[in-house]
């Protein structure tokens, strides 16, 4: 090793320390910068109408169909004067409208995904931690869950397009929900397993020794791991509420409200292209610069999504943190 003078070493050390501080400060500043930008730009058009109205299509006069054809995700052509006239025609509504329909669509798809993924994920976690443990099947499933966790979300979207959307004749909210569920399952399964593993084996041994069955033991153990399992579910939920890629080719999007008047009507409208925040934001913020109202609307949507995701993530983290401190 090269011998350096103490002064050089001290100086060098100070320099590196300063760099470390800068990097850490920069990382935090980045978070604030992003949040600030989203807040500044989003709050401008976040009025009550944002939650109560559907978005006004860019060519309002010329888009009655609302079918797939309207949702070409390529960048739309800049509006000609004539089209601008058409868009301005329904003067009763403000130029951009809101994303109320998208919020409801996104929520419903997330609910569907949760209903599908939570039982499947938690039960698989039970298997991994309690029933299978060291069996070859458990190792294989654990491996598959890790791999599935690393599958890019756009691939999940394409997969659902291939197995659900195309054979069943169309984009639907159901397909969107399934795509999100596929992303959630491995996350929930792995966190459930990890959280159950934190429970000491003595509890299991005590329960089994009292004559409880494996299933009764599992229920008891999962009760002590409750907070951790819930955290896993919430984090999975937060992750999919911000996902766009898996919805591009599954739920697509729609300018209209889902029909919630009756279960049958709901099924009917949920079986078609379903409005969702993420795709609407993507469409709006990739509009040409000559359509500022739409870009504005996109930022407002981004603010809503960011707040929603943080509202799930932050309590989930606090929940878990509080729990581990108790355990220590």
């Amino acid at each position: 090793m090269k011998l350096r003078s103490p002064a050089w070493r001290r100086l060098h050390d100070r320099g590196v320390k300063a760099l470390c501080g800068l990097a850490a400060g920069g990382g935090c500043a980045l978070l604030f910068w992003i949040l600030l930008i989203v807040y500044q730009r989003g709050s401008q058009s976040l009025r009550l109408e944002f939650f109560t109205q559907a978005p006004t299509p860019p060519l309002a006069g010329a888009a009655p169909g609302g079918l797939e054809a309207d949702f070409d995700f390529s960048v739309p052509e800049a509006p000609t004067d004539q089209r601008k006239g058409a868009a301005a025609a329904p003067a009763a509504t403000p130029p951009a409208g809101g994303m109320g329909n998208d919020i409801i669509g996104s929520l419903l798809m997330t609910v569907l995904a949760t209903l599908l993924a939570v039982p499947l994920g938690v039960l698989a976690g039970f298997y991994l931690a309690e029933f299978g443990r060291h069996s070859w099947l458990a190792s294989a499933v654990r491996f598959a869950a890790n791999v599935a966790f690393g599958v890019p979300s756009i691939i999940v979207g394409v997969f659902v397009y291939v197995v659900l959307v195309r054979p069943w004749g169309g984009f639907s909210g159901y397909a969107g929900g399934v795509a999100l569920a596929i992303i959630m399952v491995p996350i929930i399964a792995r966190t459930t397993e990890d959280m159950l593993r934190l429970v000491p084996d003595t509890l299991r041994e005590a329960t089994l020794a009292l004559g409880a069955t494996r299933w009764q033991t599992t229920l008891l153990v999962s009760r002590s791991a409750r907070a951790g399992i819930l955290t896993g579910i919430l984090l999975a939920l937060a992750r999919v509420s911000g996902e766009t890629a898996p919805l591009l080719f599954t739920a697509l999007n729609s300018w209209y409200w889902l029909d919630l008047s009756s279960p049958a009507a709901f099924h009917q409208s949920f079986s078609g292209p379903t409005p969702n925040l993420m795709n609407q934001i993507y469409l709006d913020t990739t509009s040409p610069e000559t359509w500022p109202e739409q870009i504005q609307r996109g930022w407002a949507g981004a603010l809503v999504v960011t707040l929603g995701v943080l509202a799930v993530t932050v309590p989930a983290r606090l929940l878990f943190r509080g729990r581990t401190h108790d355990a220590r």
Binding site: I37, A124, Y127, G150, I154, V158, V162, I182, L248, I281
Partner: protein, 333 residues
């Protein structure tokens, strides 16, 4: 052991339980539960297999048409009648944008971890760590918008010209005029996105280094940086490499953010100012138009299949590496 539990179940019944209740218990709850959880677990296996099978099945058309040329050709021509597709430019774009992101984010995450573990007082380290982790919670579309509306003008108007004027501007890496979109923007955005992920793992690796080793080094008079470089980093090297592999897998598959900023052109260039595309961004961009064109759709799905294989491979490598490293550390201890 499980079987034993099953048979002793009936024998040990609390004395307070009536015979009737004992009969009612005969319904094999445990057996049914076992079957249900096993099925749920197998569903994950089936799902993964189905993803592979479906992607492969739909990529066949393009595989048969283009064969191995698909990997070596950069043509991408969806024009009717002369359709021809190759993956090279997408693979290149994915590789370069990911490499750039790693080159920026890995050193940064190590510096941040040193600060959080060695330098910062506790009251500061905890909230700072949380803030950096929260960067991971920001949806990827927000990063895309940030890149498009904030980073793009910065790159085009101040940072780009500044790089251009420095000696770097003369190198092949920064040829051409900076217009804000392209590889550099994508690399920066990707670096921001994997930073929290890398930092979280690197910090855990740092924390796992035995206190005794670090303190021994401090005891012989090493400075903080010397301890970090010669003890902490050396001890945690395996873990950090594993973290890098996992982050690499993430960066490769990132779709929306990259689609916003990479420019989506079919060009291949060394210059980081040039626009490009990645596998994921091309899929996001062209899939909808391609749904009515079987060959283009199949080519896109073959691209997706390549991405799937790559990310699964990286994932497997990372897990195997970490398992190996953990076993080695245990053996040494």
């Amino acid at each position: 052991m499980d079987q034993q539990v099953g048979t002793t179940r009936m024998a040990v019944v609390p004395a307070t339980q009536s015979l009737g209740k004992r009969r009612a218990r005969r319904f094999p709850v445990d057996g049914v539960a076992r079957v249900v959880v096993t099925v749920a677990a197998c569903a994950i296996l089936v799902l993964l297999a189905a993803i592979f099978a479906a992607m492969y099945g739909d990529a066949r058309l393009s595989m048969d048409q283009f064969g191995f040329d698909f990997l070596t050709s950069k043509r991408w021509n969806p024009a009717e009648g002369q359709e021809s597709y190759g993956a090279l430019s997408s693979i290149y774009g994915t590789a370069v944008s990911t490499a750039l992101a790693m080159a920026l984010a890995v050193p940064l995450s190590i510096l941040i971890s040193v600060f959080l573990v060695e330098l910062a007082p506790r009251w500061l380290a905890a909230p700072m760590g949380t803030m950096i982790e929260l960067l991971a919670a920001v949806p990827s579309i927000i990063y895309g918008m940030f890149g498009l509306f904030i980073l793009k003008p910065i790159l085009a108007e101040s940072m780009g010209p500044w790089i251009k004027q420095s000696w770097l501007g003369q190198t092949f890496l920064f040829e051409g005029a900076p217009n804000g979109l392209g590889m550099l923007n994508a690399g920066l955005i990707l670096a921001m996105m994997i930073l929290p992920f890398l930092t979280a793992i690197t910090r855990d690796v740092f924390l796992s280094v035995p206190r005794l080793m670090r303190e021994a080094a401090y005891g012989v008079g090493a400075t903080t940086w010397e301890v970090t470089r010669n003890v902490t980093l050396r001890y945690g090297r395996a873990g950090i490499i594993g973290a890098c592999l996992l982050a690499l897998g993430r960066a490769m598959g990132e779709t929306m953010a990259v689609t916003y900023v990479i420019g989506n052109s079919n060009d291949m260039s060394w210059s980081l100012f040039k626009q490009s595309n990645t596998i994921a961004s091309r899929m996001a961009n062209e899939f909808m138009e391609a749904t009515s064109r079987p060959l283009q759709l199949s080519a896109l799905i073959e691209l997706g299949f390549i991405l799937l294989l790559l990310s699964v491979l990286v994932q497997i490598l990372a897990r195997a590496w970490m398992a190996w490293a953990a076993a080695r550390t245990e053996g040494r201890a």
